[in-house]
């Protein structure tokens, strides 16, 4: 609990500062692993199984995060070109291509050096994950492990614990987790320690609670963080440090900061006029500028589907029962990753719900060239949202990696027009109120 006398300068902004420090440390650690010629488990943001891997003390690398960092640091085009030169199509996922080039460069990355993989663990939340791991398998002759998470079979019909259909799916996931544990024992030469797993799960519990609370706090007016920019920092920590004491401490301090901001009416750096929701993946090649085009006109992103699916469904705040760790891990993984998948594949209801809960003025849909997984269906969701709620929305396309398809001028034109619409709507609403 922060004393009431605390000065804003002591607390406001520390989340981003500490997040940045943690992430620099994260890459430094990976570099050390690489320098020692040791290897890391390669995992993905939608169902990393960090709880299991950390219980074996395995260093973990997130190729998606490595890839997006090349775009933020404005060198992704070099990596993409190198992968395309050896036959990877311009049509496919830019993350995969950046990673392939990174592997060809021996792990060279703008933030340090990425170790080679010891194994890869991935879910089917994105089909490209599976293809991607197949590339590593053949490149390095390593074991790769798919955790197949059954999806929602029919939109709107979500099965829950205790129901026959759910329990069948859960047993399937549990069996796979047990297989994964055996594989980790083989790869590391260590015996599985269930108490260590319990510790990781307990840390993940606290992180999940904090993540859920963090998102809820942004319902405040003004919003306490920008879901697009600040949110991406938090996402990185949530994924990389899930199940660790550092990650838990970070998020508990972050919640403290946001509680303080909410209590004192402190918002982001933007004078908030329009509360927006972001649907899709950010435009990393012009990450800062992309956000500025909105904030310059008083728009702030109060939530995003990205914070849901790229956290692997941590937004659900699921709490593991550490007295039955494997069963509960299976249940949590199924609920969380299925939720992450639903926020991409059956997203309409979630976006509508989010728009209501966060007192939203508009929704920005941002499909990207790289990714069919997150982009397919956005236009239809937008249509349904507008038909049902009349919510203003914007549909703009670019990419998360490939600057060749990012046109700042065109984006700005569309965004300007969107804000003109929002402004006109606001005036009209005020005029009607006055009458």
């Amino acid at each position: 609990m922060i004393p009431p006398s605390t000065a804003p300068s002591d607390i406001v902004g520390r989340g981003n500062k500490e997040g940045g420090q943690l992430f620099r440390q994260w890459f430094a650690n990976l570099s050390e692993v690489a320098e020692r010629k040791e290897r890391a488990a390669y995992v993905f943001v939608m169902g990393s199984l960090n709880e299991i891997l950390k219980s074996f003390d395995m260093p973990v690398s997130f190729p998606e995060i490595n890839a997006l960092q090349t775009a933020i640091r404005r060198v992704s085009h070099e990596y993409l070109d190198e992968a395309e030169d050896i036959g990877y199509s311009p049509d496919i996922c830019g993350y995969v291509k950046a990673d392939v080039a990174l592997q060809m460069r021996g792990g060279e990355h703008p933030m340090g050096k990425i170790p080679k993989p010891s194994m890869a663990v991935f879910t089917n939340a994105c089909n490209t994950y599976i293809k991607w791991a197949e590339i590593w398998e053949r490149m390095y002759d390593i074991p790769i492990f798919t955790v197949d998470i059954p999806g929602t079979r029919q939109a709107g019909i979500v099965t829950m614990p205790g129901q026959h259909r759910f329990e069948n799916d859960r047993r399937y996931v549990e069996g796979q987790i047990r297989e994964l544990i055996t594989l980790c024992e083989q790869v590391t030469g260590k015996k599985f320690d269930i108490d260590k797993l319990r510790d990781c799960m307990a840390n993940a519990n606290r992180l999940s609670l904090a993540w859920e609370r963090l998102l809820a706090l942004n319902r405040s007016c003004p919003s306490v963080f920008n879901a697009l920019t600040d949110g991406t920092v938090y996402l990185g920590v949530a994924n990389g440090f899930r199940g660790t004491p550092e990650g838990t401490a970070y998020f508990e301090r972050l919640v403290e900061e946001m509680e303080y901001k909410a209590a004192h009416g402190i918002g982001t750096l933007t004078e908030e006029e329009y509360r927006l929701i972001f649907v899709g993946v950010p435009c990393y090649p012009i990450f800062r500028r992309f956000n500025e085009i909105f904030t310059e006109q008083g728009g702030t992103f109060v939530n995003s589907t990205y914070l849901w699916f790229a956290s692997g469904g941590t937004n659900r705040g699921y709490q593991y029962d550490t007295t039955r760790p494997i069963e509960s891990l299976a249940e949590g993984l199924l609920l969380s990753v299925r939720d992450a998948m639903d926020s991409m594949f059956h997203q309409y209801a979630m976006v509508r719900e989010m728009a209501e809960e966060y007192s939203t003025d508009g929704v920005v849909f941002h499909p990207i060239k790289s990714c069919r997984t997150v982009s397919t269906g956005l236009a239809d969701s937008r249509r349904a949202l507008m038909e049902e709620t009349g919510m203003p929305s914007l549909f703009i396309e670019s990419d998360m990696m490939d600057r060749r398809v990012v046109s700042e001028a065109q984006l700005k034109n569309r965004i300007d027009a969107f804000f003109e619409g929002l402004a006109s709507r606001k005036h009209q609403s005020k005029a009607e109120g006055a009458a």
Binding site: G151, A155, G175
Partner: protein, 395 residues
Amino acid sequence: MSDPASALIDRCEAIVNDLDHTSVADWKRQSDGTERKAVGFLPVYVPREVIHAAGFLPVGVVGGGDALEIIRGDAYFQSYICHLPRSIIEMGLGGKLDALDGMIFPSTCDVIRNLSGMWQLLFPDKWAWYLDVPQNLSPRLGGRFYAHDLQLMAKELEGLGGLEVTPERLRGSIEVYDVHRGITEDVFALRREAPEKVPTWELYMLIRAGLILPVEDHSELMVEYLESASKRTAKRRDNPRVIVAGAFCEQPPMGLIRTLERAGCYIVEDDFSLGQRWLREPLRITDEDEPFGALAKAFLEHSAQGATRFHPDGEPKGEELVRQVRECEAEGVILASPSFCDPSLLDRPMITAALDREGIPWTGFKYAENTGQFQGIREQAGTFSDSIRLWSEAS
């Protein structure tokens, strides 16, 4: 002299080109005034045996090709996506799929998975089902999960008004499809042996008709074709034998297939109809076998090595293609991928590496189902064909 095989292909062409699915609507209407039901499915693989056992007509939906102008479908998607979902939405909105009482979306790729969500939003009165085929290939886990999932789907079909999918009924359906699988492979074998007798555009039409016709009728049709085509006396040309790979979901326009043949290639194997040939072995089910389990086992053990299926065993990608090249005595491979098809395009570098290792010539291009300009492809395929004939080690 009239060619009975050509007449059969004309019939197939009429069925395939009828995007309104009138033949399906006709099948549904019974003489006593009652109506049967039909369920559509998307590429690549769906076990049609289960739909058949429920008394429904399984209907493969692979888009409108170049015969359908996309007017509304484009508005439902982003720019960077394959063409198939746009044309399927266009067909749905245009009433061309009204004859179908439901749709099954298998876990082929994220586009098709997502389409299942869109379908329920757009057509809330139609039954839609996402078929989650397993990525874990152990019988104890993936096999058991998949068998249960198929039972779940069978129950859903019963709820839609279908017959109870009893073990006896399902075993019967599996036997019917085993016969169909056998005849299908016979037709493909004839093309391999005598490509001059079975042009690929004909074979393609014949097999495509099987996505719409009842399986029993289609088996008969293929037998008739086989008998007629084998009697043809076409002269074999000095064309190289090639395999076309990568086109297993969104289908190339017929003009493109004809273009490859006109450019001087004998296509002796292809994966246009991968879903219909997914199970590489007959199930040979007995009365003692539990049929859902048998379908699951067949999926785990005898699936085609397609790009939409997880390969956990480290077998070099493209090895099956290399094997096919050897078995078919093919001299080259044409890699044809739909634009923005993630599974096909992501596999391509690994496949070309395998072909290069074996010294197998290949060429590649992208297409869309409504590609209309074939000159560039004709020149590319023609040059490829010439290079094999004139410059390969064998020549």
